[in-house]
Each structure stands twice: as C-alpha cells, then as structure tokens.
C-alpha cells in the first residue's frame, strides 16, 4: 500500500505552529487547554452554508486539488455535527431566518467564517439592492472574515488556519468561558498617522461621494 502521504508536520513547526502536534514524542499534554485547543483546532468540521459563487470554491476546497481534509476540516451537512459555519455567498433577507435557525441548531462551541465579500458586507451587491443583507455580522458573531470575490480555495484554507490560531487561543478555564475575537489584540497597532478610517461601511450609508478633484 503506497505510503499514505509523507508527513509534513516536521516542517509545521518551522512555520511557528505549536510543536504540540508534530511527532508522537512530545504529545505529553501539559494542560487541558492545550489539549482541547489542539483537538478543536485540528478537527474543525465545516457546515458549508454555501449559497452563491463562493459555494463553488468551498466545494473545490474539499476536493483533490486543495484538500480541506488535510487540515482536519470535514464538510458535513447536518448543523448538529459541525463546529464552524462557513457562510459562503450572498445572504438575502429571505435566507436570513434560515441561516439564523441553522446557526442556533449548531452545537456550542461554534465559530463562523464569513467567506467572500457578499457575506462580509454584501460586496458587489451593497448598492442598489433591496433584498441583500449587507454583511453576515449583522446577525451572526463572525470570527474570521475572508475577503475575495470569490476567494481562492487557498484563501479559505488560510482562513481556516487563522481560525485554528483563534481556537487555540481560547481556554476553558473558569471565568474565561469563551474569548471572542474582539478581545484578541492586534499583533501590531496600526500606524497612527491617519485618523481611524471612515466608520465601517456596513453601518451608515456610503460616506459622501468623493469631492470631485479631477
């Protein structure tokens, strides 16, 4: 039987992944957090909430060219058995109650990835539409936003890796039930030169059209 894939975990640690997972030798688990964080990070089962074009990339991501399964992400259809809901595609007003209901049916601890600009802010359908919800974060707590229209399968895998870092950062020690991404500090504060950029476009309608300089 051909060897089932050269292990690549050796080079994992080169990338700063915690050495926990590479090699059986050091699987001496130091603390419950580390074990749970590792296991949740490794087996993020995805609920593919695919509605539009991003669903095609979501399907492509789990097939032979860009294998999701390598990262431990296993797409299952039922909301009960999954951990991360990947909202891929435009969510319209008619679809919103369905998404909310499915999100509530998912078992805790659950995360949400907003894949593609339509899910983040309505994207290309932000202006002149009457039926599109402008951003999933209006009714779901989103953990990772993946920009792109549609994002490549590799962008999605990068999003999964980012979510894995986030999942590992959480701890189940008493009191800190569940740290949302808002508390995750920015790695480096953004350069202070410009004032905070215009308020996120999703809240107020577009800022005044640009003074015409030309």
């Amino acid at each position: 039987m051909a060897s089932l894939g050269k292990t690549d975990s050796a080079s994992d640690s080169a990338l700063g992944y915690s050495t926990l997972e590479s090699g059986v030798g050091n699987v001496i688990l130091t603390s419950a957090d580390a074990l749970l964080g590792w296991s949740r990070g490794q087996s993020l089962w995805a609920f593919p909430m695919g509605t539009a074009c991003c669903a095609m990339e979501l399907i492509a991501a789990s097939f032979s060219k860009f294998d999701f399964d390598r990262l431990g992400v296993f797409p299952r259809q039922g909301p009960r058995h999954t951990d991360v809901m990947i909202v891929a595609g435009t969510i319209t007003e008619k679809m919103k109650p369905v998404v909310i209901r499915l999100y509530e049916q998912m078992a805790e601890p659950k995360w949400v990835i907003a894949m593609g600009n339509c899910a983040i802010s309505g994207g290309i359908f932000y202006y002149d539409t009457y039926s599109v919800v402008r951003g999933v974060d209006q009714f779901l707590p989103v953990d990772v936003y993946i920009a792109g229209c549609p994002p490549r399968p590799e962008s999605l895998q990068d999003g999964i890796v980012q979510l894995r870092n986030l999942v590992r950062a959480e701890s189940v020690s008493p009191g800190v039930r569940y740290r949302r991404r808002t508390e995750i500090p920015l790695r480096t504060a953004p350069a202070p030169t410009t004032p905070a950029p215009a308020e996120p476009a999703s809240a107020a309608p577009a800022s005044a059209p640009s003074k015409d300089p030309a």
Binding site: G5, S39, S43, D67, R70, Q77, D83, A107
Partner: protein
Amino acid sequence: MRSYLFGVLWGFAAAILIALTALFGVWWERKVAGRMQMRFGPQQAGPAGVLQTLADTVKLVVKEDITPNLADVPVFKLMPYLVFVPSASAFAVIPFANGWAPFNTEASALFFLAVPGMGALGMLLAGWASHNTYGSLGGVRAAAQLVSYELPRTLSVLSLVVLAGTTSAVGIRGAWQWWWIVVLAPAFAVYFISSIAEVNRGPFDLPEAESELVAGYFVDYSGIRWAIFMMVEYSGIVAASLFGAATFLGGGLGIPGPLGVLLFVAFTVAFTTMMIWVKWSFPRLRPDQLMSFAWKVLTPVALVQLLVAGVVSAL
C-alpha cells in the same frame, strides 16, 4: 462457567477494543477515501494524521450534546446505548484465536448474527424520538433494511454451519478446510454484501443518505451521542470483517502461530478496505431496489449455496 469478574473485565476490554477499532476505522476510511479521490486525507494531526481521530473524539466529548425540546427525551437519550450494546456484544463471540473466543457458547455464530439485529430497533426509535422528519424517515429505512438483510446473511453463515457441523464460531473456525474457499465463495459474497447492508454502508447507506436525508436517524444527535453512533458503525465494519476472516477463511487459513495471526489481521484490514472501496465507488440504491436486491438476488443465491453445501457435506 466463567466467573462474573471475567465478564466485567471483558466488558471494559471490549469497550477499549471498540474505541480503538473506531479510531482506526475512521482514520483509515478518511485516508483510503482520500487516496481514492487523489488527495491526502488528514495529515496535520500527528505523523500522517494518525492523531486526527483522537482530536475528533476529544472535540466531540467536549461538544455540547443538544437534546431537541420536542424530542421524547428519555428515549432520545437512551437510543445511542441501545444501538451500541448489541453491536458491542457481537465482539464477545468472535473466535480471535484457534479454539478461543471470549465467550465460547454453543450457538455463538448465530448469536453473532442475531444480536446486532437489535440495533435496528435502536435506530428506528432514535429517528422517531428526535421528532425530525428526516430522522424518522431514516429510522424507518434503517429498520426495513436491517430486517431484510439479516435473512441472506444468516443463510450464508448457515451453509458454513452445515459444512462445519457445529453452530459455534470456534467450532467452525476449528473445522475449517481448504476447499471450503472454493465451495463457499458465493456464500462469502452474500455474507460480505449483506454485512455491508447491515452496517448501513456503501451502496446501501440509505438510512444516513447524505444527499437525501442529510444525516438519517442521527441527524439531531450531536457531541458524544453522535460519536457513539459513529463508533457503532465502524466497529460493526470491523466485527463483520473479523467474523468473515475467522469463519470463511479459518482465521489465517488455519495456519497456527504468529503467521496465522498476521494473516488473520491482514484479512480483516483487507475486508474493511473492501467495504470502504465499495462505498466510495458506487452510487446509492433506491429503497425499492434495495429490497428487491435482498429478496430476489441474495436470498436465492444463499439458498442455492445452502443446497450445494448440504450435497457436499453429504459426500
């Protein structure tokens, strides 16, 4: 009779054995299915992804196990165990070594075939208790399927019993002859196909048809309860392979010593891989085709095989 203590000890041993087989089974399936689909399968959790199922299990243990409020709660909570116990007890009678089985009763072969059938009731009630249309449809299908496939499976093992003269699995394994492979080939085929159906796998996975009923009877189970259903399925596969290898191929072709054990394990892994291979190669049958295949194809073949076995044993 064995002391009660041995029963308890074997209970724990069986639980651990089933957990290990499930861990191995899930990882092995994701790897083999991956390679069949030209991809790697889990790789990042431990060397070659071996710790992947460990990660899944740890996550599922800590996962919230939701009980739907409209569900019939006691039944809903009991069903995973009602499905788990019969298929776990099947391990008790499998002749692991020449002449030894954990519980070497008289009709242990029939015991192995009959007791997992109880699982059908569990599946039916699990689907019904979760008060979910897909769940109940899945449960009803599971019951119909298990019942209708028990017959050919039993008949195929019966022809084995006829040749071996005894209904105890250990006896069958002991009386195994070379030429049985040739004579009982159709019986083995029927046994293999119907055991795939018993375990709701491969072309017969109608109860948990992913593309129709989303997840069949365990659609509303989550967390550890759902993990138990998964454990039942994968341990069922390994149990059927073990029993098939032990009885039809005499546990390592009757060769004593370590080589025999090695062959026995190799056959088991081969049969498990065959089941995975068949699942990922073929589409799913329609319920009416499923039934007609059982009653119109498998059962007649098994009966003819029984006739042949009877004639041969008379020679």
